[in-house]
Structures are given as structure tokens and as C-alpha cells.
């Protein structure tokens, strides 16, 4: 068993209404010093066996086709060590 994490974030040039809303709320809660917030998604996938190159290639394909929208999002895939 291995855990593979896929992070999906809005592309930097794309408007991120969610991050904006959070960023706007921080000062009202008394938090200063945060200059930007972006909000994305995090997927944790439990895969059978080792996180081999094959498995990672297949997760990358999932990330590309299902987990992210390549028109407006970027993704990254990594194996979580402590799983």
C-alpha cells in the first residue's frame, strides 16, 4: 500500500475567487502579513502495492484527465512518505 498525493491548483494567471474570498477575510479576523492566498484541491489516493513508476504514470494520467481541468488548473503528483 502506498499513498500518492495529487495537488491541483488554479493556474497563477487565472482568477481564483476562492482564494480571494479567504484572503479578504483574514484581516477581519486579525491576521495580517498574508499577501496572497490560492485555494486548490488535494487528492489522497491509496494504491495497491508499491508506488512504482508505472503506478505514478497512471496517477499522472488520472490527474490530467479527471482530477484537474488543464484549461485552468495545474497539478502535481508525489508519493507521500509517511503513508
Amino acid at each position: 500500500m502506498a499513498r500518492v498525493v495529487v495537488d491541483v491548483m488554479p493556474k497563477p494567471e487565472i482568477l481564483d475567487p476562492q482564494g480571494k474570498a479567504v484572503h479578504g477575510a483574514l484581516p477581519r479576523l486579525g491576521f495580517t502579513g498574508v499577501t496572497d492566498v490560492r485555494q486548490g484541491k488535494r487528492f489522497e489516493l491509496e494504491v495497491e502495492g508499491e508506488a512504482s513508476e508505472d503506478v505514478l504514470a497512471s496517477v499522472r494520467e488520472m490527474a490530467e484527465t479527471l482530477l484537474s481541468n488543464p484549461v485552468i488548473e495545474n497539478y502535481s503528483v508525489r508519493v507521500e512518505d509517511d503513508a
Binding site: K11, E13, I14, L15, D16, P17, A21, G24, V71, I72
Partner: protein, 596 residues
């Protein structure tokens, strides 16, 4: 190096990428003639976007002109604003007026279904808001490829979720629409969006920048690189190394921002601090500045450095063409600026004084202290090219018309009839649409009197008097393909009937003309015929066309979509408690068939 006006005057031979921006060589020559020099890259950006088919209606306007020949009044009163304004405004009595308009967002919805459809709703709502009206309802006529086509699976869920996601979050009831499936829309779905707004007569606002010395205020979302993929060729010219960062060609909507913009704008109107207003749509600041100045009585000066940016690397050409959503521009008397900004602050809406109305008759824009735009505003906004494109009835039309329905096999006997009926009921175009409509809030605002599955949507306008309005949209593209003249008329009369059967009196028309490429004479013929048909039928029925939208180049490869002139009819009802819902109400009622 910055391409300033004085630089452009000296460096006449500089090669400019006008063709990449979609301009024809004679159009570029015309711009040079207007300016008496070559345009700066910022000016070129403005002209190219404002003279595009989408903004200038260059192929369609010779045909749309005839809608102006229809008497400009409705069966119950005058038109308070007509074609040419952001949206037409009609009197419905008791001091109320309504405005409504339908627009397309087809191509963006193909590229990114959710955001394309969402921002389509957002755009039409701002048009209505800019007239001084409170938006009260939306509708969404949609066209897709066959239900089982891969392309439909790709676009349909996102488009429906986008229409719902944006409209629901704005708190606007969705009171109807269409969902039609046909082979010709594979790879080219149609997303049309309609909004209705209500105002008191005295609240009417127009898009013009009048009064020398008045301030120009940009408010709403910050300006980012949205939807300016194309113009980056210009910006990259002005960067010495590397060029600008990648620019997205899709826009992402922020319906929450738009909700704040609506409430904020309505409060600004109520406070009487707005003398002119324009929403920022397709061509962004290029459109808002040139249209406001052109409709006003003087000129306008804008300092582009003051525009709040989401992306600090944007070049002036890009700022002028950005299609960032949820922005408005207002013209405000200097004495009212403080109050204006205060109201914006109350709604957490960023507002910036970026310029002023001048008496120069020119639209002048500065960047880093130097002038990058100096143009006659009318030449950008209104004097775009006009094409008389050739059109011709294709010969294949004869064969199409000769192939009559009478030649189709008929069911014989009860079993076959039953099977036919079941097939009809189960067909995507006739089946229950609640998979779609359940994703839309039809109840918010508490004034929805009729919505799905009724023939028209109806909302109450006044809770005391029960005055209301009804709207329906219709189009059968197959009829229009067989005979575009009659097809457009059939679309109109179907909408008209759907409004009437609900109990309302039809008053006015808005239309969204979705067609293929105007460069194909056969398509152009369909377009011309549909316009002629619509005009003749409006004259016959005595109702005006108050506005609309044209969407051309809807085709996959060389195959055009079915000609799809979607016609929206708005009606008034004195007492909404007397509306007629669709469907059999009670056992024992007589059933009467009216008409032939």
C-alpha cells in the same frame, strides 16, 4: 519600448501585427486614415477588438437595420430605450419598466463549459444592471449534439452546472430555457442566456459620458489577463526580452463578486450618484471607454496606471483588452465621488477614479505619463466596417424542401401508434428536463409565479398590485433550416403563444441569432432570410425588437449548425393571480383544441 502616440507619428513604417489580430488590410488602412498616422499598439488593440465581428456586427448590421423599421412602440406603451442601448427598455404601466436581453456565449462554453456558461450568465446580468434595473430572472436556451455523443458528455454537465452555479449564487431565479439536441451542434454547443430586469421609469440609466470634468470610476473586480490570449502578440512586441507571461484565453467568473456589484450598483443608483454607466463585457475597457465617450458630448481622459490589476505584468494593450469579469464603469459628478466610494466600500467593492470627461472630443489614454491612445471615440465604437456580404439561396434547398414529411412512413394500427408515442415521449428533445432544471434555483426572490414545466416563465413585479411579466424563448432550427424566413417567424410565434397561453400580453422581442460562417453565401442567405422573416412578423404582430445578439461562425469544420434564431418574447400581465399554468388541472374539465 513603449509605443506612444508621438512615437507612432514619427515611426510610420513600423510593421504591425494587424493580421494576427484579425484585421483585414483595408481595415488597417482605414485606421491609419482615421488617425492620420499609424496606430500605436494600444490603439491597434482597441480597434482590432472593437472592429471584430463580435463587437461591430460588421457582417450582420446591414440586415439588422430593418428591425428599426418596426414601429418603436409596444401594444401598451412606448419604448423607453431601444436597439443600441445595452438592452431595450419598455413601459409596462404603473410607473414600472422592464428590460430584457438575450446573448450568446457559445464558443467560450465549448472551450471551458462550466466557466463559459457561467460568465455568459454574468455578462447578460451586467447588461441589464447597467440600464438601471434590478435583475429579477434568468433563462438559458441551450443546444447540444445528440445526447449520446462524446462531445455532449463533455460539455453538457459543465454548461448546466455553470449556468446554475452562477445564477444560483446571484440569487436570480431561472424561470425557463430550452434544451435541444441535434447532430449539427456537436463540437459547437449553443449557450444563450437571457436576463430580465425591472426598474421605475425615473431610474433609467444610459451609457454615456457627459459633463466635462465629471469623473470616470472603474469599480468591481481587478483587471487580470483573462481572455486576452490573442492580443499578447502586441504586448510581446513592447517587451524587450521574454515577452509577457502566458495569458489565459478563458475567463473565470466570480458570482459572489457580481452579487456584490449588483447590490452596490443599485444602491449607487438610489443615491443618485451615477450620471452614466456601462458594464465591461467582451472588449473590456476598450469598449467601455470608447462607447461611453462616443455616446457622450465630449471626450474622455483615462490614466491607465490607476487601473487596479490582479497581475502587475500586464502591458497597456492587455489592460485595454482584458475581459476580466465583474467590472463596471461609471461617470460621476466630482461632488458625488466621495459618496460613490463610500457606498462601494460598504459592499467591499473596490472602486478607483481613473479619469475624467473632457471637452476634447477625443479618447485619450496615458500610461506611465505618456499618451498611448488618442482617437476619436466614435471611430472605435461606432464607425467600424460594414460588410455587404454576398448571399444566395443554395440550390440544395430545393431538394430539401421537396423531401416532405408526407413521404415518411406512418404508424398503422394501435400498437404502432403506441410505440411511436412512447418513442416520442422518450426522445431527448421532448423528455422531462428536470435533470437540468433541478440544478437551478427557480424560487429565490419569492416572486416566481411560473417556471418549469410551464410554457413561459412568469415573475411578479409588484406585490401589492400583482403586476407581472412573462418571458418565453423558442426556436426550432430544423424549421429554420427548411425555410429560414418561415423558421424565424415560427420561432417568434411559438414564443408569442407561450407567453400568451400563460395569460400575459406579448409586448416585445429580443433575439439571439446563432448561425454559421457569414463568409458562406448560403449561410448568409439563411441569416438574411431569418432577419427579414422576423421583421415582417413583428410588423404583423405589432411588437418591436428591443435588442439582441448575433453569433456567427458557429460551425465545426465547414459544417454550419442549423440556423438557430432564438426568439425571446416578453409579455405583461396585470394580475399574476390570473395566470394559466401548463397542464391538465382537474378531472372533468373540458379539453378544447384551438386553431387549425
Amino acid at each position: 519600448m513603449l509605443d506612444t502616440v508621438s512615437h507612432a507619428a514619427q515611426d510610420a513604417d513600423h510593421e504591425q501585427p494587424w493580421a494576427e489580430l484579425g484585421l483585414k488590410s483595408d481595415e488597417y488602412a482605414r485606421i491609419r486614415e482615421i488617425l492620420g498616422r499609424r496606430p500605436t499598439s494600444s490603439e491597434l488593440a482597441m480597434y482590432s477588438v472593437m472592429w471584430s465581428e463580435h463587437c461591430s456586427y460588421k457582417s450582420s448590421k446591414v440586415h439588422l437595420k430593418q428591425f428599426g423599421e418596426i414601429p418603436q412602440e409596444t401594444p401598451v406603451g412606448k419604448m423607453l430605450a431601444g436597439i443600441g442601448e445595452n438592452a431595450g427598455v419598455i413601459d409596462i404601466g404603473q410607473g414600472y419598466a422592464v428590460t430584457f436581453k438575450i446573448e450568446s456565449h457559445n464558443h467560450p462554453s465549448y472551450v471551458e463549459p462550466y466557466q463559459g456558461a457561467a460568465t455568459g450568465v454574468g455578462g447578460i446580468v451586467r447588461d441589464i444592471l447597467a440600464m438601471g434595473a434590478r435583475p429579477v430572472a434568468v433563462m438559458d436556451p441551450l443546444r447540444f449534439g445528440p445526447l449520446d455523443a462524446d462531445d455532449t458528455h463533455r460539455v453538457l454537465p459543465g454548461i448546466v452546472a455553470g449556468v446554475g452555479g452562477y445564477g444560483n449564487c446571484l440569487g436570480l431565479p431561472n424561470i425557463g430555457g430550452e434544451a435541444v439536441f441535434d447532430e449539427s451542434y456537436v463540437g459547437n454547443p449553443l449557450v444563450n442566456a437571457l436576463c430580465v430586469g425591472v426598474l421605475r421609469h425615473e431610474d433609467l440609466h444610459l451609457a454615456k459620458a457627459a459633463g466635462t470634468g465629471n469623473r470616470v470610476i472603474l469599480y468591481g473586480a481587478r483587471t487580470g489577463g483573462d481572455g486576452i490570449g490573442g492580443v499578447s502578440v502586441l504586448a510581446s512586441e513592447t517587451f524587450d526580452e521574454g515577452g509577457p507571461a502566458k495569458r489565459p484565453s478563458v475567463q473565470v467568473g466570480d458570482p459572489f463578486m457580481e452579487k456584490l456589484l449588483i447590490e452596490c450598483t443599485l444602491e449607487l443608483f438610489a443615491a443618485g450618484v451615477v450620471t452614466g454607466i456601462q458594464d465591461l463585457g467582451g472588449a473590456g475597457l476598450s469598449c467601455a471607454t470608447s462607447e461611453l465617450a462616443s455616446a457622450g458630448d465630449g471626450g474622455m481622459h483615462v490614466d491607465l496606471d490607476l487601473v487596479p490589476l490582479r497581475d502587475s505584468t500586464l502591458a497597456p494593450e492587455e489592460i485595454l483588452m482584458s475581459e476580466s469579469q465583474e467590472r463596471m464603469m461609471a461617470v460621476v459628478e466630482p461632488a458625488d465621488v466621495a459618496r460613490f466610494l463610500e457606498i462601494c466600500a460598504k459592499w467591499d467593492v473596490e472602486a478607483t477614479d481613473i479619469g475624467e470627461v473632457t471637452d476634447t472630443g477625443r479618447l485619450q489614454i496615458d500610461w506611465h505619463g505618456e499618451q498611448v491612445v488618442d482617437v476619436p471615440p466614435r471611430s472605435v465604437a461606432h464607425d467600424g466596417p460594414t460588410y455587404h456580404r454576398p448571399f444566395e439561396r443554395p440550390e440544395s434547398q430545393d431538394a430539401l424542401q421537396a423531401d416532405r414529411a408526407e413521404d415518411l412512413p406512418r404508424p398503422s394500427g394501435g400498437d404502432e401508434l403506441r410505440a411511436t408515442l412512447l418513442r416520442l415521449l422518450a426522445s431527448p428533445n421532448l423528455c422531462d428536463k428536470s435533470w437540468i432544471t433541478d440544478q437551478y434555483d427557480r424560487y429565490v426572490r419569492g416572486n416566481t409565479v411560473l417556471a418549469q414545466p410551464s410554457d413561459s416563465g412568469m415573475v411578479r413585479v409588484d406585490e401589492e398590485t400583482n403586476l407581472g411579466v412573462a418571458v418565453a424563448t423558442d426556436c426550432n432550427g430544423r424549421f429554420a433550416r427548411l425555410d429560414p424566413y418561415a423558421g424565424a417567424q415560427l420561432a417568434l410565434v411559438e414564443s408569442y403563444r407561450n407567453v400568451a397561453t400563460g395569460g400575459a400580453r406579448p409586448l416585445a422581442v429580443s433575439d439571439c441569432l446563432n448561425f454559421g460562417s457569414p463568409e458562406d453565401p448560403a449561410v448568409m442567405w439563411q441569416f438574411a432570410e431569418a432577419c427579414r422573416g422576423l421583421k415582417d412578423a413583428c410588423v404583423e404582430l405589432g411588437i418591436p425588437v428591443t435588442g439582441g445578439n448575433v453569433s456567427l461562425y458557429n460551425q465545426t469544420g465547414t459544417t454550419a449548425i442549423l440556423p438557430t434564431p432564438v426568439v425571446a418574447v416578453l409579455g405583461v400581465i396585470e394580475d399574476v393571480t390570473r395566470r394559466t399554468p401548463t397542464g391538465f388541472r382537474e378531472a372533468g374539465h373540458e379539453i378544447v383544441l384551438l386553431g387549425e
